[in-house]
């Protein structure tokens, strides 16, 4: 009965247990793309927060003497048709895009989660009714409904964000609903019910916290889509308006001259690409960590 592990001095056991640096190193080597995504995303966040200090010029300062300069030492990414420094504008655009992504996701969750929670918790007719409403919003080709809503509310960044949220909420309603249905029969819910806890309190204190994970996964996957969609709305002229500095709008403004001055379109466009790419890589990683079952889908 002399197990060496039991008799061994405690120091040996510690040696067998991987140190946190080793664990971290293993995690990083297994998730190279995730780490790359985080790195790029942190850079974008950094740019967004410290935009006024990073950018060498005022992003809205018109300077016809420097009109359409190619990228070079003085202007890292060149200048646009009004002589504005594109690098400074790209840096400031990071702020707009991140705010858009966060706002749209928050709004669609604010609409979708209560609906899904109620539908899943109560079930029955209320559930069918609410889910049919959600289905109606999913019956429009994506991007078309936000376009129609923005058209009706009037062009503008806030209306575009609102429109995107209204078109996107059914996904959150569906996710939280199916996850609530999964836990509705759990003992702790029945226990709370039998103790006379109110429905609203049960939903908020018991159902929501236990069905929350898939929402986080979905949100991390959707963040990039939101940025892309908002940029598209700005691009076709119904999203952000000048003087707001927004990447999609910058590409739109470059349209008349981009064939001869590639950097006016390519720099803001690639900024969108890199940000969305980083966000998507993070989303994939978050899904793998929180929901290992869904690893092969999508």
């Amino acid at each position: 009965m002399t197990d060496p592990a039991i008799n061994a001095p405690s120091g040996t056991l510690d040696l067998l247990r991987p140190s946190w640096t080793l664990k971290l190193r293993f995690f990083l080597s297994e998730n190279v793309l995730f780490v790359a995504g985080v790195a790029v995303f942190l850079a974008v966040v950094f740019a967004a927060i410290f935009a006024p200090w990073i950018s060498p010029y005022d992003p809205s300062k018109i300077n016809f003497a420097h009109k359409l300069w190619a990228p070079g030492a003085e202007h890292l990414m060149g200048t646009d048709a009004l002589g504005r420094d594109i690098f400074s504008r790209v840096v400031h655009g990071a702020r707009t895009s991140l705010i858009i992504g966060a706002t749209v996701l928050t709004l669609s969750m604010a609409i979708g989660i209560p609906i899904g929670l109620v539908a899943g918790y109560f079930g029955g007719r209320l559930d069918s009714f609410l889910m049919r409403i959600a289905d109606v919003f999913l019956a429009f080709p994506p991007l078309l409904l936000p376009i129609a809503i923005t058209a009706m509310l009037g062009a503008g960044l806030f209306n575009a964000m609102l429109a995107l949220a209204v078109s996107w909420f059914p996904w959150y309603a569906r996710i939280i609903r199916s996850s609530v249905i999964g836990i509705r029969q759990e003992l702790y819910i029945s226990a709370a019910q039998s103790m006379g806890v109110g429905h609203i309190r049960i939903m908020l204190r018991h159902a929501l916290p236990n069905s929350w994970t898939p929402v986080i996964v979905q949100a991390s996957m959707d963040f990039g889509y939101t940025i892309l969609a908002a940029a598209s709305l700005s691009f076709i002229g119904i999203g952000a308006k000048p003087p707001t500095v927004e990447w999609g709008l910058m590409v739109a403004l470059s349209r008349s001259k981009f064939l001869d001055y590639w950097w006016t379109a390519a720099c803001p466009g690639l900024a969108i690409f890199l940000t969305v790419l980083a966000v998507n890589l993070i989303g994939d990683g978050v899904r793998d960590i929180l929901d290992p079952r869904g690893r092969s889908s999508r």
């Binding site: 078309l144 009706m152 590409v251 969108i272 969305v276 092969s296 889908s297």
Partner: protein, 338 residues
Amino acid sequence: MTRYVAQRVAMLGVILFGVMTVTFMLSRILPSSPVEVMLGHRPTPEQVEAAKKLLGLDRPLHEQFVAYLGDIATGNFGESLLTGRPVVSDIADRATATFELTTLAVLLVIFVGVPLGVLSAVNRNSVVDHATRTFSIAGVALPVFLIGMLLQMLFYGSLNWFPLQSRIDSEVLLDFPFEKHTGFYLLDTVLDGNWVALQSAALHLALPVLTLAIASLAVVTRITRNLMIEVLGQDYIRTARAYGVPERVINFRYALKATLVPMLTVIGLTYGFMLGGSVVVEFVFDWPGLGGYVVGAITKNDYPAVMGVTVFLATMYLTINLVIDLLYFAVDPRLRYK
């Protein structure tokens, strides 16, 4: 099966009703009133009253809604405030341009994306697989308009292989006119044996189709790969292999067939995604379809046009998805007996 189909069609009716409710509500909450658009600045109160009467805006809301449903049922989407023509005629003139674009893009996605996904799954962790996966991650992160403009810069600006925009050379259209039998230029020119126009139409289609397809190509490739990997791990594949069935037959006849049902779903979603994406693509390539029409209508507050196209495209999307749901029966015989 008949019962399922009946239910499915009834469901389509319910959703369509919902779609019209949404578009109706949208067209009545707008801050920029259609009356203003019609009359311009500072109309007299009498003009406003007359215009409201003309548009039916003086009646109670529920009456307006019933009238709206009746109008749509009879194919009356109102008149475009901009062109002054019935919205239906505008849609009819432009719909084929959009469908030629989206259909070709869907075909491209199916005939390139699916084989690429299979290839990637069969040769896991090979160079092809890594390239495909990189493409499928990058493809969904590229903004559609950037793809379009980069293609324009490369293939028009630098190489001059393809035209910049529009659907056909206007000179070709003048010198080599052709009958618009179907509205699909590729078909029409072939039917007329008009090879010059065919070439021009095909060249004009190339870049917009590619632009519209890339994001979906990335998604479909990735999904095909994942589905195939799952199927290839099944017992019956191993059995087939043990019997010495050729790899090509295993991959494309045995395995790919098993992925068809989920694949159909994805292709339906892809079509819808493209109907939405075509708005941006048509804007970039100045394509004379519904997307360009909508963008023009939005900037001019032409709300009947916007709502008409929205209802039309939503109906198309729902119909396509219905057809796909019915195709499940053709593809998977097991479903027919449930």
